[in-house]
Assembly symmetry: C2
Homo-oligomer: 317 residues x 2
């Protein structure tokens, strides 16, 4: 028996492909995942997505599916449905992913850059709900994000706006995966934090960071900082400063009512909040200083839920 309509959201990442069945209230009611076939190219991953969707549909045969929204790394062309390239996966240049998925799935498919999809999810169902202007930033392996301004998701030409991680904030900074020197992503992502931690640990043989997982990751750095490890606290404060520098740029750029922070590093927002707020208080122009930074409301599911929501609202451009 058919019930209310649902949509499926796919989160295609460099590590995992995840699929979720989302109801009209934005609730994730079934999920499936597998490790991304990094070497198989688009055809193999399309088949993976197909299997995940099949699994979900088999367990919920009573659900009518309005469509399948895909969140994927960019740059991608959301208008024509092509992935232009994926830095972390080989062989994806100019892939007509929407056409391929529609052929495999027999369903309507739409694609959105992962930062924008997660921003949509947070706006419609999470920490950005009810806001007219907000900036979503996800900090994990890289830095991505999306922006709602004047009550609409900012998409830009080919839906490629808001690559917020790829702004150079230091001309002498490390080269980013995108080729640009000193991108915010290259300096303030979880990857960059872990790299700084490895250097700092060499200078502090007594640090509890040595007893964490090796190579060290952001979660272990936050854990050590919570236990008062001096080197970890210094790393966290430095990270907060770099995040703050980029957030000031975003405040001046988009004038949001709120900044929503997602991704793995948002788990340490409590530790970094004072440092981030100090950076904003010191360097944002006065009328921008009152904007607060809050954690994502949907955790790691912002992307899946946002991608599904492409079929739950009619305001796509």
């Amino acid at each position: 028996m058919m019930t209310d309509a649902y949509a499926i959201g796919i989160d295609l990442g460099g590590t995992q492909v995840r699929a979720g069945l989302v109801d009209w209230s934005g609730k994730l009611i079934a999920r499936e995942s597998m490790l991304t076939d990094r070497m198989g190219g688009p055809q193999a991953v399309v088949e993976q997505i197909g299997l995940l969707v099949d699994k979900i549909i088999v367990t919920k045969p009573e659900c009518m599916i309005a469509g399948i929204g895909v969140s994927a790394p960019g740059p991608l062309d959301a208008v024509t449905g092509h992935i232009l390239e994926i830095a972390t996966l080989k062989g994806w240049e100019n892939t007509p992913i929407v056409e391929m998925l529609e052929a495999r799935l027999g369903q309507n498919v739409a694609i959105e850059n992962d930062g924008l999809a997660a921003a949509l999810g947070e706006w419609r169902y999470g920490a950005g709900k009810g806001l007219t202007h907000f900036v979503y930033v996800t900090v994990s392996t890289g830095i991505g994000g999306g922006v709602v301004a004047d009550g609409r998701l900012l998409r830009g030409r080919r839906g490629m706006a808001c690559h917020v991680g790829h702004m150079s904030i230091d001309p002498n900074g490390p080269r980013c995966g995108c080729g640009n020197p000193g991108c915010w992503e290259a300096i303030a992502s979880g990857t960059a934090l872990a790299r700084r931690a490895q250097v700092a640990m060499m200078g502090d043989p007594a640090s509890t960071l040595h007893s964490g997982p090796q190579p060290i990751d952001a979660g272990a750095i936050f854990a050590a900082a919570r236990h008062g490890d001096g080197t970890a606290l210094k790393l966290v404060n430095e990270e907060a400063r770099w995040l703050g520098i980029g957030l000031v740029n975003l405040l001046h750029r988009y004038s949001p009512e709120k900044i929503v922070l997602g991704g793995g590093l948002s788990q340490g927002l409590d530790l970094m909040r004072a440092g981030i707020e100090a950076e904003i208080a010191a360097h944002a122009m006065v009328p921008f200083r009152t904007v607060s930074v809050v954690s994502a409301g949907l955790g790691g599911d912002s992307g899946i839920i946002g991608a599904a929501s492409l079929f739950q609202f009619s305001d796509r451009i």
Copy 2:
């Protein structure tokens, strides 16, 4: 006898206050200006604007005025009509400028940040005409700008979005007037270029820059470069690189179809184009590299015409 409706645009700057009568095709058909009363505060400047408007109305009594749009330095709150502060003028904190001007002029008044107003002018009547996504950047004493994305001017909370000059691109760079270290404005504005020129001239006593106006300005640097002066050419190339670094950030941020460059430094775009394009080709992500940089179509009048256009279109938020 009444004819078609017109609107008046005001461009309130740190040096001049300018007023223009603009017809429904965006043509400036009368103009007046005077030096800004920098010390008199808001009341004196409101009176200056009143005198300029009176002069225009007296010479064109047959014109029906739909309203008066004001372009002013920010940050300002375009929604409530308050100027929050003006870095170059004293005593403007939280000035209810719209209310004051409506009382003085007996006309409907609206206010817009100067970068946004000029972007509106270029979008509706200039080099951005017909585009759905474009970025306008004005480089002169400072750097400002505005963005059209998805067919609408990006305004943000309180209409304060798109302070494009105030993004830090170098944490060790010179402190900006806004207080932020290494803002694009502090590094790549005409003021910053002139400062670098003064240093470079000390190292090159034979440069023709010494025979230009002192203190040197961007126009004289471009002129010397056109005559093959080596130091001037080096300065121009360095300026192009800094402009390019900021423009790459804006490409990734807004995904425009075109970048429109205005302000005094756009007079040297022919000299800087190769350097700017080289920076974009080297550091923008591939799908962003084809975006061209063109000169403003309305020259120094983008702001007046854009401000007037606030009363010529009904799409204000």
